[in-house]
Symmetry: C2
Subunit: 797 residues, 2 copies
């Protein structure tokens, strides 16, 4: 009744309801009645065409990028053990003075071979394995990468040093830290010489016994230092208190006592203690340290002790209504994407791609096609640096390159209902290290969701047109020690793909002593050690073929005198600039976003003459993506990719990765020095690769206690079509509505064939089953016994 | 059975499953068994404390910021009509030569008065109305703001010019465009002189008749140009083709013919045509234009014609599975926040705030408290500039300041199920203009949702700790002509608040003729006219009182020689710098995010000596936030806030807004010139205000056809606690789980009292009801007749 009255009133009053003449209608448009009024109606035009769909798909082509199978890995390991000149010991039995296989993985096919298969009907490239072997049986131990194949192993299979995949020209790198067990023993022995001081200052022990208070570890990578004209291998250590609960907060418990060791060579009897540091005072000898400690004016610092503050369990006052279940996603109509589980091939809407999983970098995406055309050949993480600073040598000396530890081994099982919606499609990931094949069950999830805002909308006084924004996410989380890295690849209906990294987990912190210049005090005796995260991605865009150009479209202020203007006008213009050569291809994101970076195919203009391309742009975070320290004494020649926001190089099969997992062994003489990629090559209409950093400058504050939160520790870039299609691609979705209305109410609702959610969803039956969490399954590879896998989350490598 | 076998195998193999000695465990930690294994168990510790909760709350204090009620507006209008010296005509009857009330709104209380009420038990400040009156009955017409009150109107109520709220010292601004109806007539008359040319070149007519082909409009704001030593009022116009369907794409249909008029003064007989422009050739007279057109070598351009490309309905091939309903949010356990609808007061978790709604800027938030302490006094949009450029005078001359049109009038009803989840709590917004009180029903929505990623996680081989990320959004969408601005204020469990603006809808475009330097060709005869969006926010943070300081914490590369190092080391440090004075307070976001910007209370350190504060940082977009053109001939003295990314000033009740809706009338002599706020005042521990821009440089490409999409047109900033609390505030939510596990399976699941979603959700009954869309309700204010409201979405002002 009320409605009826209002409508009537509306009709009666419409004559006087016109706008005041001087009040502005937007953009000064005149009103024009364009359509006759029609009776209220539903319309489902456009709804009759349906598509055949199955959640299971068979990839048209073999996934030539897929990880080695367990059988392949086993055969490679067996093959290598048969090569007597390698003198291999089974990994399970190997000691520091043995040669042993560390990692087996796929050698990614050369792009030329891959394209010949993918595009030209050529044969699938032969599969080859990478074998990373530690040669311990030597006074100068080293690691070396080999290529083994073709697979499956036959009499024709051979192996060779993978020299061509490095910039150093050799696949070998010296291992200055081959004797870790001896180093551990050394650390305890050194500690033993000051056990009374440690007990006094730190109130605990570190003897190697089961009831130890402290863990001992330090800088990464090791330093090379010239002492008396000789290169020496230096290790700075400090003491970390073990947490007193299950909570993994050891990196919150540094104790503030440091010692420096010369661990050059393989004879621990020749190793030396080079000094002690406590309270920012350096003592060159243990004796000097002992003397100072004995003196009455020795300054002691408050202890950094564990406690409930380390834990991440709920604390504090209850929040109103928080015991009620919060909103969640449901999938009312089943899975809307297709997966070939065996081939790790995925199709969602107009996108398709292959997944692979490696020990070094976790998931990578290959051959991403959009509307049948490849837009990205390869998209994947290359390296993650976490570079610390501090007034103590351990913080100052630490610059993790996390592929050394690997992202694959730490990409654990995800928890349905938390890490990903319960309706997600989960995939497994497998890696092969230490002659174990370890399968992380459900460590990759695929799901559709709603980002919480529309793709498109427009409304006026006659109609509304609204398009839902449905996104498809590929997610994996790698917990590399203290930090949990959440990696998302997000596909959207407008043809864009966003790459997101977020960090949670425990910070690595510093003992609080005279280090205000390096971070905030965050607990009683704790500093949130400042550090830079810089994570490098390879983005090998191929826009309508491999011949592409990187262009900058600049928005620049200019002064112009126009034919129609007597005066010079201050205005702006679009200036197009090509990045013509690798010499000019180390780039920063422009101040105030004043330049657009595009990868275009200059030879493939659209019908209006604009080259088709994809734009590449930062999308979240913006907190800094490259290293503050441009010449790190820790990273030396291993930081090239992290000295600028992004870089462009000519694609080469010999320059397939920007970093190497073994660079950490000798960062001054790395296997891959990214700067070596830059040799003045022309970048015009050639196959180019973009190397792009995400990251943040992280100065932890009390809000990082006990864990950093994802919300404020995220960084992302997005690639999106730019003059690539002739219109917005999201126009092809059915997930839209148009509502025509006037003062009499809604006249027409057009829904375009997209079903509205209907029926009932049983939330109880879609609750997460936390007890289903299992961890990993491992299979020993030498001798090969696939019938006896075992749970192995503890033996992560 | 399989599981059992695996577990057994795990136990048997555990002795040999240890990692290879030389393979790295992350961060080189030693393993230490910390807890005895326990039997699988659920735990609901922490779950007994519940809170009382109602979705309805009564604000403890009156919302002193709330919009004028319909009754208040009516009484103010009536009061003003009684002031004979104002010589007012009822708005519905007023012509260009009358005086009439344009807008009535609240005069926001002075902050000092407000705080006295909010914090010190003082009386609620008297309410005062703003009345914006157009004085047309004059050869030199003007607009003027008045303050009227106190309310309710009594004999004690008075009115006065609101001079103190401007930097010009006067609330008056000249109206050089008082005769819009005459201008419209002029435009048709001018067109009439070249009707044959228009028909020939553009194939249509513009006579003012119902069957017109073209709309005529042009630059905004008007220009002042010196001609023969005299200031003249200049209007450049162009022709826009009316769309031939319901789709609102007039801004995609510029026709490429322009004319320049001198419309100085109020006598249209003295107005003159100053020239014509077609195909980048300027003709100083109509005769010259006609002669050129008559000549055989006159160059004609392709027509820009409407068609289906204007429409936003679904097109193209059907996408697989897209007819199925996509994932959606459901709210399984009811609303988890509380609203005082009358007072527009909202409580969600530890946050509370007041909402208000104004004609000029739409929604604003006041008195945002977090854990009982105010963190923001005022958060709201100030102005939105869209500055175009082009080789034609209309694009070059256009720089919209959208508060001129107003965000309130165009904040239409939202569509449940599209704009916001169907379970959202909707509020109405009301504004008062042209002596109408217009209520937009359901134009503000409040909802909880899941952003699709966790707040916190950490896992290792013994446990996982995972915290859900539940966010609370306040949303409003204003469609100011062609563009739909989506405004979100997003609250999160870690104490952060994100402000997001996204743009969709139609671009304003340019006719394609020799303008490659100003954008891309996006259709047959169309250029996507390049433009800068710069939207300014007032962020009046109050951290533990009003005495605050803006500080930069810089991450800087340094060379340091440490006591423990013989060599100088290249490293980085944290440097703290205060922004001491307004002279230094115009800021840009630093290159590579190398500085953190904080508002801190230097006198309120936390227990570790770090001042408590909130950080303010860009969070999405990063596509550029301030104007490329630093000295716009269109904006003149009205662009001060948009010349840098953000600025800091001392809070003053006389400097309450960075722009004024009437600046557009005379941007060279604006009511508020933001640059005037900067008068070298000291900013140390005083009440400071941050003025921050969001936006983007927008060079529309084919992907903007027919509409720009929100996904790639968004910009946001986030404020987050920085050393403000002693830990991460999200630790207090129940929406977390801890799972302890080992090789034998899950041992413990802790859920902290947060209920899992359970039962069934009826999706059918929560489907959106598109037919419920109604539009707006208006009530005429003079004479006041609240019993006869009418539907009025067409009469938006």
């Amino acid at each position: 009744m009320l409605l009826h009255t209002l409508v009537l009133a509306g009709l009666l009053c419409s004559a006087v309801a016109g706008p005041h003449a001087r009040l502005k209608s937007p953009k000064k448009w005149n009103k024009k009645t364009r359509l006759p009024e029609i009776l209220a109606a539903k319309s489902s035009s456009n709804s009759t065409t349906t598509t055949t769909f199955s959640t299971v798909v068979e990839a048209h082509q073999t996934n030539i990028f897929i990880s080695l199978s367990d059988d392949e890995a086993a055969s490679v390991i067996s093959f290598l053990h048969n090569q007597t000149e390698l003198n291999l010991t089974a990994a399970a039995d190997a000691g520091a003075w043995d040669n042993a296989i560390e990692v087996v993985d796929l050698v990614t096919p050369n792009k030329t071979d891959a394209l010949d298969y993918l595009d030209n009907g050529g044969a699938a490239p032969d599969r080859y394995a990478l074998a990373r072997i530690a040669f311990g049986a030597s006074e100068e131990p080293w690691l070396q990468d080999f290529i083994v194949g073709p697979l499956p192993i036959t009499n024709a299979s051979t192996y060779a040093s993978l020299d061509w995949a490095t910039t150093s020209g050799s696949a070998k790198i010296r291992n200055y830290n081959a004797d870790e067990d001896s180093v551990t023993e050394w650390n305890y022995n050194v500690t033993d010489t000051v056990a009374d001081i440690v007990l006094d200052l730190l109130n605990g022990t570190a003897t190697g016994a089961g009831d130890d208070t402290f863990d001992i570890w330090g800088i990464d990578p090791l330093w090379m230092e010239e002492i008396d004209g000789e290169q020496r291998v230096i290790l700075w250590n400090t003491y970390w208190r073990f947490p007193d609960s299950i909570f993994d907060g050891e990196t919150l418990l540094p104790q503030g006592l440091f010692f420096k060791s010369d661990i050059t060579g393989r004879d621990p009897s020749k190793w030396r203690v080079l000094g002690w540091l406590y309270g920012d005072i350096f003592y060159e000898t243990t004796e000097a340290f002992r003397n100072a400690w004995s003196s009455p004016d020795f300054v002691r610092y408050e202890l950094n002790l564990p406690g409930s503050w380390i834990g991440s369990d709920r604390v504090g006052e209850a929040l109103p209504a928080d015991e009620r279940a919060a909103p969640i996603f449901v999938q009312p109509d089943g899975q809307r994407f297709s997966v070939d589980e065996e081939q790790k091939y995925i199709e969602w809407m107009d996108f398709s791609f292959y997944l692979t999983f490696t020990r070094d970098t976790g998931i990578r995406l290959f051959d991403i096609k959009y509307k049948g055309e490849r837009i990205i050949y390869e998209l994947g993480l290359q390296e993650a640096i976490a570079h610390y600073a501090g007034n103590d040598p351990v913080q100052s000396g630490t610059a993790y390159m996390d592929t050394f530890y690997g992202f694959g081994p730490y990409a654990f099982e995800l928890v349905a209902g938390y890490d990903c919606p319960t309706y997600s499609h989960f995939l497994n990931g497998t890696f092969h290290a230490s002659e174990l094949s370890v399968t992380h069950r459900n460590n990759i999830c695929l799901f559709e969701s709603d980002p919480g805002y529309l793709m498109q909308r427009h409304s006026n006084d006659e109609y509304l047109a609204l398009t839902r924004n449905v996104i498809f996410t590929v997610r994996s989380v790698s917990t590399v020690g203290n930090y949990d890295y959440n990696f998302d690849y997000i596909f959207a209906m407008d043809g864009s793909i966003e790459t997101v990294v977020r960090a949670s987990g425990y910070i690595q912190s510093a003992f609080y002593a005279k280090n205000n210049d390096y971070g905030y005090q965050v607990h009683d005796a704790l500093s949130g050690s400042m550090h830079d995260h810089s994570l490098n991605w390879k983005v090998d865009l191929d826009i309508l073929g491999t011949e592409n150009t990187f262009v900058k479209h600049k928005i620049v202020p200019v002064n112009v005198t126009y034919p129609w203007s007597n005066q010079t006008r201050s205005t702006m213009q679009l200036q197009r600039e090509r990045v013509e050569n690798e010499d000019d291809a180390k780039l920063s994101w422009p101040q105030n976003g004043g330049e657009m970076f595009l990868v275009e195919n200059s030879d493939k203009p659209n019908k209006y003459g604009e080259p088709k391309g994809y734009r590449i742009a930062p999308s979240r975070g913006g907190a800094g993506m490259y290293l503050t320290i441009q010449d790190s004494p820790n990273l030396l020649k291993s930081q090239g990719f992290a000295k600028q926001a992004l870089s462009v190089t000519k694609q080469k099969d010999t320059e397939a990765r920007s970093s190497h997992a073994n660079n950490d062994y000798d960062p001054g003489n790395p296997l891959i020095d990214f700067d070596e990629f830059f040799d003045s090559e022309n970048l015009n209409q050639t196959d180019i690769v973009v190397w792009l950093n995400l990251g943040m400058h992280h100065v932890p504050h009390t809000g990082d206690m006990p864990n950093t939160v994802f919300t404020t520790a995220q960084s992302a870039f997005i690639i999106s079509p730019h003059n690539y299609l002739l219109n917005d691609a999201s126009r092809s979705t059915r997930q839209m509505v148009r509502i025509d209305y006037n003062a009499s109410g809604v006249q027409l609702v057009k829904q375009f064939g997209g079903k509205l959610p209907s029926g009932v969803v049983n939330l109880t039956s879609s609750q997460p089953d936390f007890f289903a969490y299992e961890g990993d399954i491992a299979t020993r590879k030498f001798p090969y016994d696939p019938l006896h896998p075992f749970n192995d989350t503890e033996s992560i490598v």
